[in-house]
Amino acid sequence: MTLTAREEDTFPFFQDYIFAKSAIVLTEEKRYLVETRLAPVVQQANLSCLGDLMRALLRGDRQLETAVVDAMTTNETSWFRDKSPFEALRDHVLAERMTANSGRRALSIWSAACSTGQEPYSVAMILEAHFPELSFWNVEILATDLAAGALARARQGRFSALEINRGLPAAHLLQYFSREGAHFQINDSLKRRVLFQQLNLAQTWPVIPPQDVILLRNVLIYFDAPTRQRVLAGVRANLRPGGFLLLGAAETTRELVGGFVPISVAGTTVYQLKEN
């Protein structure tokens, strides 16, 4: 770098750009995140600095756009994350929806920020392990996320030992995975149960069939209040009356639009949309 080329401040640009693409809010204290997460993108694209990356994005480079959005999302997740919401699902939520839908024999579950797939696959394992009667039902698990890279990994269903360690019961590992080299591959029977699709919660949603259960976990935390409200309104509109919303363990429900009833079950709170 030449002495005259003082490092330009690209942070405000990336703040706006990421917000426009994902609604993720990057406050000043996230400055380091932009630097550490975008440095590899800069390097891989053979650019020399964040300024170059900024100019490439301004020119409308789609490939770099995907890389930047992927890099700026936090894909941290684990199997049966927080345990209790999945117990609530197993012990209460699914049974209740199955009673409600016994005539139609159909059940729809949506993991709305599925990251690398641990969440929807955990749901699939619960269905397979505890609800054999559902094999005669039309069960759909829709799993969506904004990050293309995370989705590709989710579809592939290949996990490292470090990922497997994160909350997956050993018995499930033995039953639903096979070892492939240093990785563990999820079985086709589980893979077939989950439909992965890209969906940006912050933009207009495609038409989604009415859902019985929506898992919207650990994603609202990245958004500002207006976005949270819009997303929650969308969730409500896509949930069947009597359907359930499952949030992350640390997520507040202050913005929860009317019509939801909190239900304490298995040491956690789930939210049921009132029947009209």
Binding site: E76, D82, L162, R166, A171
Partner: protein, 134 residues
């Protein structure tokens, strides 16, 4: 909560002890299976949890778990194998021997706490909330 950490590596014992103490556990250590059995026999109160390495000089972890599971008095103890062995056949062997869970080395602190939570071992709310957030 009381825990017994069984591993022939001093560094590994220290690491696991540290993680367990951070959630308020009272931890004792043993350097191999024989040492662990001796400590269990002389303990005035049974640990709630035992973390066991597989490969150790005097009596390996698999044998230790088998021995422990022979004694009905020790039945309430939750046992997790913590090992570099990641072949599924070995996991089956460990579970059949009586291990309740299995953790592959290397692991993160989060992974240990998540497994404990899975096992119903009490992990304080704050510790779980602080798991690599979001």
């Amino acid at each position: 909560m009381r825990a017994l950490v069984v591993d022939d590596s001093r560094a590994m014992r220290a690491l696991l002890t540290n993680i367990l103490q951070s959630i308020g556990a009272e931890v004792t250590q043993a350097k191999d299976g024989c040492d662990a059995l001796a400590r269990l026999r002389s303990a005035d109160r049974l640990p709630d949890l035992m973390l066991v390495d597989w490969h150790m000089p005097e009596m390996d972890g698999l044998e230790l778990i088998k021995q422990v599971r022979k004694d009905p008095a020790w039945k309430p103890m939750t046992v997790m194998m913590v090992t570099t062995e990641s072949e599924q056949e070995n996991m089956v062997r460990a579970l059949l021997a009586g291990a309740d869970e299995y953790l592959i080395k290397p692991f993160t602190r989060d992974a240990v706490l998540e497994k404990l939570n899975l096992l119903g071992v009490h992990v304080p709310e704050q510790a779980l909330a602080a798991l690599t957030g979001g």
